[in-house]
């Protein structure tokens, strides 16, 4: 495992994108920073700009309005990057799949601009923070194979 991959695994910076969520998943994402779960011990911090990010934590169904903006944010994230689709809404639009204002699901929207995107799904509504940490760890394992 090269130095670059080691450094990427040890220092993942997360940028949180809300594409139309009910905010439950957002609360769980923010809970990761609290003393109980503390992802900073893995080197993960929440950053304020997609240009600083290695992980895009996407919550919410991707609405028509959010879809081009999510694609724009993904393109602004320097590669290599991992997308975490958090919650059943981000996975497959959940119970809202038949509503009139849905865009493509998050993974289809991102694969439309980058067919080789790495996307990890965290199921749940809303997923527990432990599930998100487990997904982040699995994403780190995926990065080892890059």
């Amino acid at each position: 495992m090269s130095l670059k991959t080691w450094a990427l695994r040890k220092s993942l910076w997360v940028y949180h994108v809300n594409t139309g969520a009910c905010n439950n998943c957002d609360i769980e994402v923010l809970e990761l920073l609290t003393p109980r779960y503390d992802i900073e011990r893995f080197g993960m911090v929440l950053v304020g700009s997609p240009r600083h990010a290695d992980v895009l934590a996407v919550t919410g169904v991707c609405t028509r309005q959010a879809m081009p903006r999510l694609q724009e944010v993904y393109m602004q994230t320097p590669k290599p990057c991992v997308v975490l689709a958090i919650g059943s809404c981000a996975g497959a639009q959940g119970i809202f799949a038949e509503a009139y204002h849905m865009g493509m699901p998050v993974d289809q929207a991102i694969r439309a601009v980058d067919p080789n995107a790495i996307i990890a799904y965290v199921p749940g509504c809303s997923p527990k923070p432990e599930a998100m940490i487990s997904a982040a760890v699995k994403a780190m394992e995926l990065i080892k194979t890059l």
Binding site: L3, K4, W6, A7, L8, K10, S11, W13, P35, D38, E40, R41, F42, G43, V45, L46, V47, G48, S49, R51, H52, D54, Q76, P78, K79, P80
Partner: protein, 307 residues
């Protein structure tokens, strides 16, 4: 000194300052985590951050002016490295300093802030523009008291602008052991807090823990240079304070005392950071102009009066 030796010493000083700065960044994050009842990151965390950033894609936005955008972090890093070399030379070999090197060091330590403003303005992003304007106001605020208290130290050590003579004149008792010197040290610590971009004065990069605002469009290696510059500043500013106010490095037991003073100043940065909220720009400017600058003037008057 011969040129190859100078180059080698310069590289050694820069790399050592970078390593020391990264360790101090870790100390800062670890102490913050412990204050918040968390387990913090491991000791190699800032190093991993820098290496990771060097390996990422570098992006220049379409709206940015490429020249200023890309040149700013490099110039900032270079200026900090040269200041590091001069300061460490003053610590270890005071006889090799030159007249006016105090002014050179102070000037070089202003360059990172100027480059921040340049890089942020060249980003073409409204967040960065707001950050740049705040950084400008901050620069106007804290430089004045800083220079005044450095003048206090210069006044008390015989009016020489050479770091070597300043250290030499403190062989008996350092500047900080007089009333004006103690006042000057307190003012300098608060100005150092602002220069390092730490809470309560970090509004140029508010909104987020590591970087946003001025650095919002930077990615990849350029962001790594900014991180390295900030780490080196964290190692250099307390060093400057120890040299100018607190006697520098003396042989024998003085080595231990020097290390203690150095670590105490770094710990003060973290302590002030963890116990204070962030101030607004108008509160910051009022604090520096109407509270610290009069204190600096008072310290200067006391120094001139001999106290």
């Amino acid at each position: 000194m011969e040129t190859p030796l100078v180059i080698i010493l310069f590289i050694v000083a820069a790399v050592a300052t970078l390593a020391l700065g990264l360790v101090f960044r870790w100390v800062d994050r670890k102490v913050t985590a412990m204050v918040q009842w968390r387990v913090g990151p491991p000791i190699y965390q800032p190093l991993a951050d820098v290496i990771k950033l060097m390996g990422k894609e570098s992006m220049v936005p379409v709206t940015a002016r490429g020249t200023g955008f890309l040149a700013a972090p490099v110039v900032a890093l270079a200026a900090t490295a040269v200041a590091a070399a001069i300061l460490w030379m003053a610590i270890f070999q005071p006889q090799h300093t030159f007249v006016g090197d105090l002014i050179v060091v102070v000037y070089l330590l202003v360059v990172p802030a100027l480059m921040t403003i340049l890089g942020a303005s060249a980003s073409g992003n409204p967040h960065a523009a707001v950050g740049a304007s705040r950084e400008m106001k901050l620069l106007l605020s804290y430089e004045l008291p800083m220079l005044m208290v450095i003048l206090v130290a210069v006044a008390k050590t015989g009016w020489s602008f050479q770091l070597g003579s300043i250290i030499h004149a403190q062989a008996g008792s350092s500047v900080a052991w007089s009333i004006s010197g103690a006042l000057a040290l307190v003012v300098a610590i608060l100005c150092m807090q602002a220069k390092l971009g730490q809470v309560p004065f970090d509004l140029a990069e508010a909104e987020c823990e590591i970087m946003s605002g001025v650095y919002v469009e930077y990615s990849g290696p350029q962001l790594a240079y900014w991180l390295m510059t900030r780490a080196m500043l964290l190692a250099l500013m307390p060093l400057l304070l120890v040299v100018v106010f607190w006697g520098g490095l003396r042989p024998g037991w003085g080595v231990l005392l020097f290390l203690l003073k150095y670590v105490v100043l770094v710990a003060l940065v973290t302590l002030i950071r963890n116990t204070n909220p962030r101030l607004r720009i108008d509160q910051t400017m009022k604090f520096f102009w109407f509270f610290l600058t009069p204190l600096g003037v008072l310290a200067l008057l006391l120094a001139l009066a001999g106290l």
